[in-house]
């Protein structure tokens, strides 16, 4: 599904990712953990193609296609979804209108026709319900005035509607209360399928209790420094990064 080789990324003149390798196969769920400032969000932006994240070396291949050659919207059309660590507020654009435009843009990219308005309405209502989001919030401008947790839940509604093949979720669990965490975890689990893959970035073991990953990686100083299974997250929870011999300047 996704193959990242020797990825070097420079942001604002500073090298943040320094030769990162990561392979995610169909059906797998990976988790990335790592100290603050290690470059986790940088990795998610680089996968997504954000301006200002300069790839100086390496490759990112998605289903055999060179991702680095594509715009962010083309990557979305190919089936990528990024759940933002800090979802962006867009005043004046309703959630509903935003999502309908997004969905139809992706369908257009794939050569499908627009979804009929009624069908879309049914779909979005169902997804909002699954994620326990008040339908009134669909009419509000995107993320404007949403609480931290509501913003994260909104990301999950978007993911559910867009139904991506590869979801990169950057700290989707941060800021959620205990009940919301369960609801969001169920949302992520619903996406699990043999032809899909998920990359979760998180600081906490708790999410991994609900969404059990196949692999856990530790990203420090711009590289994956350790890879294991679920037990690595438990060890980390117990001992911390320093206890595992990982320092900021690893």
């Amino acid at each position: 599904m996704l193959e990242i080789k020797n990825l070097h990324v420079t942001v604002g003149g500073k090298e943040i990712l320094k030769g990162l390798n990561l392979t995610i196969n169909d059906g797998e769920v990976h988790a990335i953990m790592g100290p603050n400032g290690a470059g986790k969000s940088t990795l998610s932006y680089a996968i997504c193609g954000k301006d200002g994240y300069e790839i100086t070396e390496g490759s990112v291949t998605y289903k055999g296609k060179d991702f680095l050659d594509m715009n962010p919207d083309e990557r979305a059309g190919e089936g990528l979804f990024l759940g933002f660590q800090y979802p962006v507020e867009i005043p004046g654009v309703s959630n509903m209108n935003f999502l309908r435009t997004a969905l139809n843009s992706q369908r257009c990219y794939r050569g499908d026709k627009d979804m009929a308005a009624v069908d879309f309405l049914k779909l979005i209502r169902a997804k909002a319900k699954e994620l326990d989001m008040d339908p009134e919030m669909l009419k509000r401008p995107v993320n404007v005035g949403f609480s931290g947790g509501e913003k994260k839940r909104n990301e999950m509604v978007q993911m559910a509607v867009l139904d991506p093949n590869l979801a990169v979720l950057d700290e989707t669990d941060s800021g959620l209360d205990i009940d919301a965490l369960k609801i969001v975890a169920e949302g992520i689990n619903r996406l699990r399928a043999s032809d899909k893959a998920i990359l979760m970035i998180t600081h906490y073991q708790r999410l991994l209790d609900y969404v059990v990953p196949d692999y856990v990686h530790i990203l420090a100083d711009g590289r994956i420094v350790k890879t294991g299974d679920k037990s690595l997250a438990l060890a980390l929870e117990e001992k911390g990064y320093v206890g595992l011999g990982i320092t900021e300047a690893a």
Binding site: K50, N71, P72, D73, V88, I90, G92, L99, A102, S105
Partner: protein, 438 residues
């Protein structure tokens, strides 16, 4: 001193003398005299030059240099119909008043009538315009030039307590022809006590045509009257479009003006309001979109001479490569005008480094117990918002379009008429779709 600030063009006076005996209502002595007096005042004042502060952003040089022909009545029916169809909102089945090249066009018009409505057209009934033409309270160079040369216009008087069920559409069409045309048109609107009405005015013209459309409107609202004036400016790309609107608003009356500036090479919108009763409200808002040599100038002046009145101004501008704009908004709160609420907000979005927006809100407050605010910004599209949208699949043009639409929609989102809201949206979206980079 006057001469340094003002420009002259003796050709205009000569032209006036040449056409004087063929102007609308030429055979009525009172009118001919008012016209001549207005022309004398215009010639004495001269044309405001770029050093006159109020005219800093709209260069009237063309008036000094070009020779105008008063528009003739040459008519091309298919062209008129095409332009009419673009302007006319047929899903609003109210009265329609159509002017073509500054002259009433009865074939497409159905005048407002009914109980309590007095409607007149200048070329059919000059006398009805006597009050406005004789009133020199609002005299200014361009107003006088308009008064001297006026070809046509409309007068609407609504009796007390009369509520118009349907808005009145007024459509000004300019067809293609070779000469630069001068199109001086006037309107006067008197809204009686507790009356209620909406007028939708659309200005539309042939592309590539150079003409000067100049409209002077005088509006009076009696106590508790409600009047909404909506203006769509869709002039041809080479046109010069100017409107000068004077409003007088009495006790507890509500006046609202909402405009969309899309067309013309040069546009100037002047809105000049005074209150003559307390607890009255004035709401002025508009969006202007410009690119490639286009310049839009919004000039407002609100005088709060009496206590307890509210004024609100909300203007949003979007300027793409080569577009320019100015918002000069002045609110003057006199010493006795306590409990005044006055807000001014002007935000501009630049889509290119080669675009320019000038924001000059101005508040002069001489009273102490007032609530006044003004804010003005000039900025670019937010790159994080753009990325967020693109990460969800919208291509660059669609993402920009959505953000720009959201930016201007603040102007018309509160409109109580869905047909009008959709029209604003459709026109703004059409502008965006035209030339944004894809």
């Amino acid at each position: 001193m006057v001469k340094i600030l003002h420009l002259e063009n003796p050709e205009i006076g000569k032209r006036f003398e040449a056409v004087r005996s063929s102007l609308t209502g030429w055979d009525q002595a009172w009118l001919d005299q008012l016209r001549a007096e207005a022309m004398t005042r215009f010639e004495t004042t001269g044309i405001p030059g770029p050093k006159v502060e109020e005219w800093k952003y709209t260069n009237l040089g063309f008036l000094a240099n070009e020779n105008f022909a008063i528009s003739n009545k040459a008519r091309q029916q298919t062209e008129i119909k095409t332009l009419f169809d673009r302007a006319h909102m047929e899903n609003i089945d109210g009265p329609v008043v159509v002017f073509v090249n500054g002259h009433i066009y009865p074939a497409l018009s159905s005048y407002p009538d009914g109980h309590g409505i007095s409607f007149a057209v200048f070329s059919e009934n000059c006398q009805a315009f006597h009050p406005s033409l004789a009133n020199i309270e609002y005299s200014s160079a361009l107003n006088d030039l308009n008064r001297a040369m006026v070809t046509d216009g409309y007068s609407l008087e609504i009796a007390p307590d009369v509520v118009l069920a349907k808005p009145i559409q007024v459509i000004h069409i300019v067809t293609s022809a070779t000469d630069m045309k001068l199109l001086p048109v006037r309107s006067q609107i008197i809204a009686g006590k507790k009356s209620k009405a909406r007028i939708i005015e659309t200005f539309i013209g042939a592309e590539g045509e150079r003409y000067w459309s100049h409209m002077v409107s005088e509006v009076t609202l009696a106590a508790k009257a409600e009047l909404s004036l909506v203006q769509f400016q869709l002039q041809g790309k080479q046109a010069i479009h100017m409107t000068e609107l004077h409003t007088k608003v009495a006790e507890k009356a509500n006046f609202s003006h909402i405009s969309l500036q899309l067309g013309s090479e040069i546009s100037r919108t002047e809105l000049l309001n005074s209150f003559n009763g307390e607890f009255a409200n004035v709401d002025l808002r508009g969006a202007y979109l410009g690119r490639i040599k286009q310049s839009h100038d919004i000039f407002t002046r609100i005088n709060h001479d009496l206590p307890n009145c509210n004024s609100n101004q909300l203007y949003r501008g979007v300027l793409d490569e080569g577009g320019k704009s100015a918002f000069q908004g002045k609110v003057v709160v006199a010493r006795d005008a306590q409990k005044t609420n006055a807000d001014q907000s002007n935000k501009n979005l630049l889509l290119s480094r080669k675009a320019e927006a000038n924001a000059k809100p101005e508040l002069l407050i001489y009273a102490d117990d007032v609530k006044c605010s003004h804010g003005a910004t000039v900025g670019e599209l937010d790159s994080n918002q753009l990325f967020y949208l693109r990460s969800r699949g919208l291509d660059e043009a669609a993402a920009k379009g959505l953000l720009v639409e959201a930016f201007v929609s603040e102007v018309f989102d509160d409109l109580d008429d869905e047909i009008l809201r959709d029209k604003f949206k459709e026109k703004a979206a059409g502008w965006l779709a035209q030339e944004l980079p894809s």
